[in-house]
């Protein structure tokens, strides 16, 4: 058989579609990180901690907070918007949850997230303020409110037992509960995106809001709901993080915004909206968490970490994230 014929006979299913490429490459890069990291530890310490299930589960437990934030952020990015209020939505939810305490801790934390997200949604959808600037303002306001509430110190209230259970406990001493929470959030997001009218509307608005509006989608309401969901997930991550460190503290959310955006984008979601799969985001989070942990095993100084971090994002996007040239 000639080569041309072989190409023609390749079944459609084996070809990589535009949406599969990021998933395959991100997965490949995760493997590469594991191989390089293991090679390094074998060479320097003669052991392979990276390949032990215990270690991987530990990393995924820590990564689940980032994963939950990224899941919410993805809904907003798919719309072609962005949510810069994540850091202080997360912190506010954590502080209010520990302040409320008792049985109300979890609902209060989620409620704060939902409320802040809804305010974002109102501004972006109904006032038509660019999301970049509106969520930035809301972030500053939440920061101001929380700093005023706590006087600038770490609040003295502690996380409730339920919060600590969700963040730290392990079922049967093996599987972290936080990982299960992330799993539940993931399933909810996948179902919403692929099986509901809301999900299809989110993709439609991300592609062209005007067309979505003309086909009868109430675009403002969809944007509001997506932002509210994103806020609620930031809130959930805040509650879990407070449970993990047994209390809330100033600036606890600062380290989550940019990695979450990076994870969503590395996973193949178009930053302009309309395209992307949740599986990609999931792999993006795992990639960033593993990259961080391998770099700390290598005792890489902060400077080197930043450089590698930036280079990886650009390299990944150069492979599959390139836009089209404008031709009129």
């Amino acid at each position: 058989m000639t080569r041309a014929a072989a190409t023609r006979n390749t079944p459609q299913a084996y070809r990589l579609g535009p949406d599969d490429k990021p998933v395959v490459f991100a997965a490949g890069f995760v493997l590469l990180i594991l191989i390089v990291g293991t090679g390094y530890t074998l060479f320097t310490q003669g052991s392979m901690p990276l390949l032990q299930p215990q270690y991987l589960l530990q990393q995924l437990q820590v990564g689940s907070f980032l994963g939950i934030v990224a899941a919410g952020l993805m809904l907003v990015i798919l719309l072609g918007h962005i949510d810069l209020s994540v850091p202080w939505t997360l912190t506010a939810a954590a502080m209010m949850a520990t302040a409320a305490g008792g049985a109300w801790a979890l609902p209060v934390g989620l409620g704060i997230g939902l409320l802040v997200g809804a305010i974002n949604g109102l501004g972006v959808a109904y006032l038509r303020v660019p999301s970049m600037i509106f969520t930035l303002g809301v972030n500053a306001v939440m920061r101001g409110l929380m700093v005023a509430h706590t006087g600038g110190f770490a609040p003295q209230t502690a996380a409730t037992d339920l919060m600590q259970y969700l963040a730290v406990a392990r079922i049967g001493g093996v599987i972290p509960v936080a990982l299960l929470v992330w799993l539940v959030v993931s399933i909810v997001v996948v179902v919403v995106l692929t099986r509901t009218i809301l999900g299809r509307a989110i993709y439609a608005i991300g592609n062209r809001e005007r067309a979505a509006y003309l086909s009868g989608i109430q675009t403002n309401r969809v944007i509001l709901v997506a932002f509210a969901l994103s806020g609620a997930m930031s809130g959930l991550a805040g509650v879990l993080l407070a449970g993990y460190s047994t209390k809330a503290y100033q600036g606890m959310g600062d380290a989550y915004l940019l990695p979450a955006i990076a994870a969503v984008v590395i996973g193949g979601t178009n930053i302009l909206g309309g395209r992307g799969r949740y599986l990609g985001t999931l792999l993006g989070v795992i990639l960033i968490v593993l990259l961080n942990s391998v770099l700390s095993i290598m005792q890489m100084p902060e400077a080197g970490r930043q450089i590698i971090y930036g280079t990886v994002i650009i390299a990944m996007l150069l492979v599959y994230g390139r836009g089209n040239t404008v031709t009129g």
Partner: protein, 365 residues
């Protein structure tokens, strides 16, 4: 043609109407800047009037020094925003430039000149690299600059793992003072006592520098084909392409200008603090504040309209708000809350224009 059949009176009336129309149009085009300017003047007069040592040169110098870096970084952010992009690396480039300055801007005059040239060259190169990633890598500006900002921050951390360093003391003193001290330090204009200099002797040097940068770099840039193309890309990239405008060149130039302005801001920050500091949260805060300043200054985040001059005024508004906090008995803890509320109020006012739209479809862009 139609002018020929009009009587002279009618033609003159028509001209007058057109002139009025064009003045009205000009005012309308500059409404964002004028609004920001009015807000700044009211806030600043309010501040000066309530300051115990108000309307003195020292207060003006102090304010100018504190506002300069933010004003420049806001100018830096404006250029990519005009073409509907965004540069999240301005804070990192500023920090990198400051860290280089804390190593090199010292010693003999020629060494200082070389150090300043290095700072400016490196920052402009950082901007140019951003442009290359965006133009040739075809990656969205917001995410490309997010990644490069991490890289630049890494280099800044290599140069300055801990805050420190030193810049030339005389230069630092002269550039952060008024014109008379500047002339005295370098023995210019009869040690600053020349008669013609006296009317300007009280002007803070940072304001002079800011004016020079606007007049010598920004205004000429907007008059070039490349500068006009930046605006055209923001209005409609497809139309700009079809008109044969140099799109790639304009994008590269826009990011290079952003790097250049951010680098100048970092250079001044190093002179002002006499040290370099690779502070990641500070860089992030400057980047976010630059976006806020751009929006307050009347530049649309959707691109195509606005000006770096507006962004300078936006930066001054932001800084004046924090000045006002100092003289009133408002707990400094509440400052972010009020800054956020002012920002939200300013941008939400833009929502009012929705009421004037005749067609609901114009809401979506």
């Amino acid at each position: 043609m139609s002018d020929a059949v009009l009587t002279r009176d009618a033609a003159e009336a028509g001209d007058a109407a057109r002139r009025r129309g064009s003045l009205g149009l000009k005012l309308q085009q500059q409404a964002g800047i004028l609004g920001a300017l009015a807000l700044f003047i009211v806030l600043y007069l309010f501040y000066q009037a309530n300051h115990p040592r108000g309307f003195t040169g020292q207060i003006l110098i102090q304010n100018a020094n504190e506002a300069f870096a933010l004003a420049l970084i806001a100018m830096a952010q404006t250029v990519p925003v005009l073409m509907a992009g965004l540069d999240l690396s301005v804070g990192a480039v500023m920090t990198l430039s400051g860290c280089i300055a804390s190593h090199l801007v010292n010693g003999t005059p020629s060494e200082i000149a070389l150090g300043i040239a290095t700072c400016i060259g490196v920052s402009a190169s950082c901007g140019f690299i951003n442009g290359c990633v965006v133009v040739y890598g075809r990656i969205q500006p917001i995410i490309a600059t997010l990644a490069t900002s991490a890289i630049y921050m890494g280099f800044a951390l290599i140069l300055r793992p801990t805050p420190g360093g030193k810049v030339h003391e005389d230069l630092s003193w002269a550039l952060t003072n008024d014109v008379r001290e500047f002339a005295l330090t370098f023995g210019l204009f009869e040690n600053g006592e020349a008669a013609w200099l006296q009317p300007f002797a009280w002007v803070p040097v940072p304001l002079v520098l800011l004016g020079l940068i606007v007049v010598l770099i920004w205004v000429p840039f907007t008059r070039t084909v490349t500068g006009r193309t930046v605006y055209a890309i923001g209005s409609s990239e497809g139309a700009a392409y079809m008109s044969g405008l140099p799109i790639n060149r304009a994008k590269l130039a826009a990011f290079t200008m952003a790097g250049l302005f951010a680098g100048l801001g970092g250079l001044f920050l190093a002179l002002q603090t006499s040290s370099g500091n690779a502070d990641i949260p500070q860089a992030g805060a400057y980047t976010l504040n630059s976006i806020a300043a751009v929006v307050i200054g009347g530049t649309s985040l959707l691109g195509g309209t606005g000006s770096a001059i507006g962004s300078v005024i936006g930066a001054l508004v932001l800084r004046t708000i924090s000045f006002n906090f100092r003289i009133f008995d408002i707990a400094p803890l509440l400052q972010p809350l009020f800054e956020g509320l002012v920002l939200l109020a300013a941008v939400s006012l833009g929502g009012l224009k929705l009421l004037r739209l005749k067609n609901k479809l114009e809401v979506f862009r």
